[in-house]
């Protein structure tokens, strides 16, 4: 979006899907925040209540979103481009696997035992490594083990962070 190169409006059309989506995104966030802050008392100017600022910021965010969306009808800009679904699935999935296994987890009937860094580390590297197009499975497996070992040495022993290694095997 560029505020300066004002183009002669030749009919309304979407000149930047990126900005339009950005505007809609801001409005959606603002509406969500306003909805959830609804119950909070705004208070008075003399004594600001907990709801005053969240609501005020939400209103401003929404207003800016509307402006951005409207601007996308008038000013040339970028279009939305492709997404890295593979990256989202594998890299973020690997992170979630780490979160689930490092100290165990329990949601309803699903129960993951605490596996510690010795398992969670290689798991994270192996799974997220699949996101790369030029992955080589053997290289990745070796790297997963070596990198995890290096991390254990660095974080657990050199920096002595309290991180479980393998409670099921070593009890630490």
């Amino acid at each position: 979006m560029n505020l300066n190169r004002i183009e002669q409006a030749r009919g309304l059309r979407i000149r930047s899907t990126q900005d339009l989506a950005g505007g809609v995104f801001m409005v959606a966030l603002a509406l969500g925040a306003f909805f959830f802050a609804w119950d909070l008392p705004a208070g008075t100017l003399r004594q600001l209540g907990p709801g005053m600022l969240p609501k005020a910021f939400a209103v401003i965010c929404g207003g800016l979103g509307v402006m951005l969306a409207l601007a996308s009808l008038r000013y040339e800009g970028e279009a939305l481009s492709g997404w890295s679904w593979k990256g989202i699935f594998f890299a973020l999935g690997g992170t979630c696997l780490f979160a689930l296994t490092i100290r165990g987890f329990e949601i309803g009937p699903v129960r993951v035992p605490a596996l510690g860094l010795m398992v969670a580390g290689p798991l994270l590297i192996l799974f997220s490594g699949l996101a790369a197009d030029d992955r080589k499975l053997r290289e990745l497996a070796i790297f997963a083990v070596a990198m995890s070992a290096a991390c254990i040495l660095l974080f657990k022993y050199a920096l002595s962070l309290p991180i479980p290694l393998a409670p099921w095997l070593l009890g630490i």
């Binding site: 505020l3 100017l45 969240p54 690997g94």
Partner: protein
């Protein structure tokens, strides 16, 4: 001279064996991570934040500052050797630096950058030491209203100086402010926007957000396209610039230091502006401007000095006023708070060892960079050849372990992934995430000061523009309005576009 006795105190702290070692380690790992293409100082600091948790505050801050310089300098190395700027401040270095590298003068380019940075760092350290005391005294006169106005001005600068669209930068700052309201209300104890999630009652964790939005989102973006890295093959060549090169680089270094040092103090993202301004200036006053873009040494010396000077003077608002001028300093605030230090004018009086030790260690850090980077440049080149398919899982595991060890909470790791997705969405929608972080950090401070000011004035907004009792507050707000107006005036913003697209 008061300044020198303070510096002496600082060097006494900084030159203990332990702190030298920490500074060295910080610079080394900072360079190590910062040299990776696509990992700028913000991501580097967020990734490495956890390794300082175990240290006592002074040591931790010295190490963090070292990490910052290392990351900043690592970005220049990548810019010169791979033509990928680590972050906005090294964009201009790619122009002539990479050309020099292609002509077989990579070593000279790196050497010039290092020497220029070192000189700029020395000067900037002195500036900080000189300005520290008077500015702190001034800050102690500030009431809540002045602080609030100052932060408003800072955010306005951040909007104006952000890259890309002003409207989008505005969006990000407001979103950051909105995020800052999540958590328990300090006065009434009521939970705000926490959705009943227990770990949100303390607010959104700062490191979770920074690592997600900067670390993870960057990984996702890099995974989009198969990498094309243009690592300079062949010899680096000798590192020390010869007499002719030195002579050519000396004046640009001086000018770059001055420009960068002044712009770095600006709230908003002043440090980014320095290299651009320096490059433009060198090109304007050069006898033969056509050499620029084809490997002119002035195009490396000036911007690199400006870069480093600005990176360092950016500490001034943080250390004296407690207000972070840019996203990196916002990270520093986060780090300081984790160590139980509230940045601001009180730090200098309450913890003089910490304050002056950190200032002195800045100079030590700059010396370290010179010592680390020049001899080890071969190692950095090797590191640049590590394929991304292995690099990003390594970044992820560092982030995961780091986030986990902040609170020993696995849920934080999952939240970081969520913020990673959010950050990626922001990138896709063309939003720059740095102002978000700045708004987030300033939001908490602003709310506190706004409340105090309004309570003191019995609910009257007039207190912010009361020219008789609060001239400073009024002046700051006028400056804020002025820069916004100037930025929105067509002719100036056209120039701004030119500066940022060049």
């Amino acid at each position: 001279m008061e300044m020198f006795s303070h510096l002496a105190l600082g060097f006494g702290v900084a030159l203990t064996l332990k702190n030298i070692a920490l500074c060295f380690a910080g610079c080394l790992v900072g360079t190590l991570i910062g040299v990776l293409p696509g990992v700028g100082p913000i991501a580097t600091i967020s990734i490495l934040l956890p390794i300082t948790f175990g240290l006592e505050p002074t040591g931790a801050l010295i190490m963090l500052a070292g990490i910052y310089y290392g990351a900043q300098y690592g970005g220049s190395t990548t810019a010169i050797l791979v033509n990928i700027p680590g972050e906005a401040t090294s964009v201009v270095t790619t122009l002539d630096g990479h050309q020099m590298a292609r002509q077989g003068r990579a070593g000279i380019a790196l050497g010039t950058a290092a020497i220029g940075s070192f000189f700029a760092g020395c000067v900037a350290t002195l500036i900080i030491a000189a300005l520290g005391l008077p500015l702190t005294r001034m800050a102690l006169l500030f009431g809540p209203a002045e602080y609030f106005s100052l932060m408003v001005m800072g955010l306005c600068f951040a909007v104006v100086l952000a890259r890309g669209s002003i409207l989008k930068a505005f969006c990000m700052i407001m979103l950051g402010l909105l995020f800052s309201t999540v958590g328990t209300d300090l006065e009434t104890g009521q939970e705000r926007l926490t959705f009943g999630v227990a770990s949100l009652s303390d607010g959104i964790d700062f490191s979770v957000m920074a690592m997600g939005v900067f670390g993870f989102a960057e990984v996702l973006r890099n995974l989009e396209s198969p990498e094309a890295r243009d690592v300079v093959k062949g010899r680096i060549g000798r590192l020390l610039p010869g007499w002719a090169d030195m002579k050519q680089a000396a004046a640009p270094v001086l000018r770059g230091t001055a420009i960068g040092g002044i712009l770095g103090i600006l709230p908003g993202n002043g440090a980014v502006l320095g290299p651009f301004a320096s490059y433009t200036m060198e090109k304007k006053i050069a006898k033969d401007p056509s050499r620029f873009g084809k490997g002119a040494i002035e195009g490396v010396a000036g911007p690199e000095s400006a870069n480093n000077a600005g990176a360092q003077t950016a500490f001034i608002p943080l250390l004296t006023l407690g207000i972070p001028p840019n996203a990196v300093m916002a990270l520093m605030v986060g780090a300081m708070t984790i160590h139980g230090i509230i940045p601001g004018p009180q730090v200098m009086t309450r913890n003089p060892e910490l304050f002056w030790g950190m200032v002195a260690s800045m100079w030590v850090g700059n010396l370290m960079l010179l010592v680390i980077n020049l001899p080890l440049v071969g190692m950095w080149v090797k590191l640049l050849q590590v394929p991304y398919r292995l690099m990003f899982p390594a970044i992820l595991i560092f982030c995961c372990i780091g986030i986990y060890s902040v609170n020993n909470q696995p849920l934080d790791v999952a939240f970081t992934a969520l913020f990673g997705l959010f950050g990626y969405l922001l990138i896709k929608l063309g939003f720059e995430p740095a102002p978000l972080l700045l708004g987030f950090v300033l939001g908490k401070l602003m709310e506190e000061k706004l409340r105090q000011a309004l309570i003191l004035s019995r609910g009257s907004f007039y207190t912010f523009i009361d020219y008789q009792n609060r001239p400073i507050s009024l002046a700051l707000l006028i400056v804020a309005v002025l820069i916004l107006v100037i930025a929105l005036l067509p002719s100036v913003s056209k120039k701004r576009d030119e500066v940022f697209t060049e």
